[in-house]
Symmetry: C2
Subunit: 349 residues, 2 copies
């Protein structure tokens, strides 16, 4: 079965595909759509009119609701974008819904003549998943096994780690002399723990994230401009530079997260990571190759020399292999084919 | 055409039908469902499991999301309740959706083999209505002509004023000597204006609503226990007593509202209303019969003696005629029949 597939790819309509600035779901959606087109599939992207794609673009809205306070309630905008795809379901072999927030497509599961698969992008609560279990046939793709564990009762057909556009992350052989924390300033991201590790190791730490209340109250008192340096919020170009110049990315994550995009991005620049063993970390970090996974902050601080000693070229190569678009696109094609096949079998029976 | 209709009545799932305390949409839904059953129609009510109805009850949830913080996001609960009705659309002649917040059913309009009519219960913005105009065929019922004016471009098939259960509102021939303000404490409801009217008229005013910030900051300074009295929040029995004892209900509404439930309730107790001419007021008040409609606060204060002079028995009778369940139920049956007929014609062509 190598025929091309007719795929409706339903994006969030918060902003354009790809996004003007940040937006991990939108970036991943763009990467997947372009990759599918490159493989010869017939892709229709349901996204805002200011999106840029080589797929066929169907736009109900000129722009996204992040940019227009009149576009409210946002849920209805998402629903009608999804409905537009389901209404022409017979034109497609599969509808792939990037569930930006919650799996609205469940409501269409039994009304669509074409199967709808949805990728979840958050960690749902037990109550949420219990609600979804009303539709045990609805296929989900998890973005990590960590996330899949939360989805008991749902029909998780595959786990597909996100890809990133590794071409845009410049490799750097020789870093500068600092550690990097990049991410939002929240307790869950472990920024206080990053400061502690850097202090114990006696190494400079650069913090890159948007200023917020948590920063002002909890982090700023630690910023001294020499040991702990606040860079501010980094745009894409600055991020790539910061990654490449870091001896290691510190990722002392406190909350169990379903994915850690910064891990993949740092590695793609050749920068190894020093991470705590929580959430999806072990799925993303090849311990001893692209970084090291530690149980405690003490271990992390003591283990940094071994992290620095990792071969940055090898870090980069492994990152391209594991988080390059090619792997993700291929896995999604496989998921689509399996669902189309299963659905055909079910319809015929 | 007098055959009974197979009606799916889709309620909000925030709380039970009827609601334990307040909830105008839930009360109206209950009244309509029971009235339709009484007329011999085959009604299936999609509502929470703790609802009480003589219709067939289909419940996906034991209780409503107002009572359970785990039931989140609430939009998905509403969607899946609506989807449950659309999934069995062929069992019904019509699906009537009480759009508690926004018209989710638009997304199902072209996927349902049975027409879906929705009653709107809020005043939508222009941007909202522009969004809905993607489905020009989707039938709406407006709850007043005032609201219908906001729906240009939408297919408003009828205006049906809400009914109330007039049996529960006890008539009182001779009132006590006070004016009543009943409603939420907000600037839009005109509570400061009610105080001004009562002062000018030199008559006692009773305020009945739940305490909130607006009350503490703006209203409390006016409460003196003799001229302006704060009753607190009234439960249903207290409300009926307060209405019946009032010489008139003051309704100096500032915001243009699509409906004024307290107007109908006061009238049903025989209490005339003194209202400002805004929003749906003229549609609800028979000027000179059930109350008087004024242009200014000065006119209202000066006109109160004429309001007191209205025949309370006649106020009650007119209220029963205009806001009794019978009128509302009959009008909805007519709406259903017209939509079913039009839909049949369309499907046949």
């Amino acid at each position: 079965m190598s025929a091309s597939l007719r795929i409706a790819h339903v994006a969030p309509v918060a902003t354009s595909i790809p996004p003007p600035k940040s937006g991990s779901v939108e970036s991943m959606t763009s990467l997947l759509t372009e990759g599918l087109v490159a493989l010869g599939h017939q892709v229709t992207l349901f996204a805002t009119g200011d999106s840029k794609t080589s797929a066929r673009l169907v736009s109900i809205y000129e722009h996204g609701y992040w940019h227009d306070p009149n576009m409210w309630p946002w849920e209805l905008y998402e629903m009608l974008n999804l409905a537009a795809a389901v209404e022409r379901a017979r034109e497609f072999d599969i509808i792939h819904y990037e569930a930006a927030y919650y799996p609205m497509s469940l409501a269409f599961t039994r009304l669509s003549p074409t199967p709808i698969v949805q990728t979840l992008h958050h960690s749902p609560s037990e109550a949420e998943v219990a609600l979804w279990s009303r539709y045990p046939e609805a296929p989900f793709v998890a973005i990590s096994n960590e996330q899949a564990k939360l989805l008991s009762g749902a029909n998780v057909v595959a786990t597909v780690l996100h890809g990133i556009d590794t071409l845009n992350f410049t490799f750097r052989e020789t870093p500068d002399d600092y550690l990097l924390f990049l991410g939002r300033f929240t307790a869950g991201k472990g920024v206080l723990q990053a400061i502690e590790v850097a202090r114990r190791a006696g190494t400079r730490l650069v913090l890159a994230a948007a200023e917020n209340d948590y920063y002002r109250k909890r982090i700023k008192p630690h910023v001294d401009g020499s040991q702990v340096i606040y860079y501010g919020e980094a745009d894409f170009a600055a991020k790539v530079k910061l990654y490449g110049g870091a001896r290691a990315l510190l990722y002392p994550i406190q909350k169990r997260e379903p994915f850690g995009l910064v891990l993949a991005e740092a590695m793609a620049c050749g920068t190894p990571v020093a991470a705590l063993d929580r959430g999806a970390v072990r799925e993303m970090v090849d311990d001893g190759v692209t970084g090291m996974v530690f149980k405690t902050l003490e271990e992390a601080a003591a283990g940094l020399p071994r992290v620095y000693a990792l071969d940055r070229r090898r870090v980069r190569d492994r990152a391209v292999e594991r988080f390059g678009a090619g792997r993700m696109v291929g896995e999604y094609v496989d998921v689509y084919r399996r669902i189309v096949e299963a659905y055909r079998g079910r319809s015929a029976s």
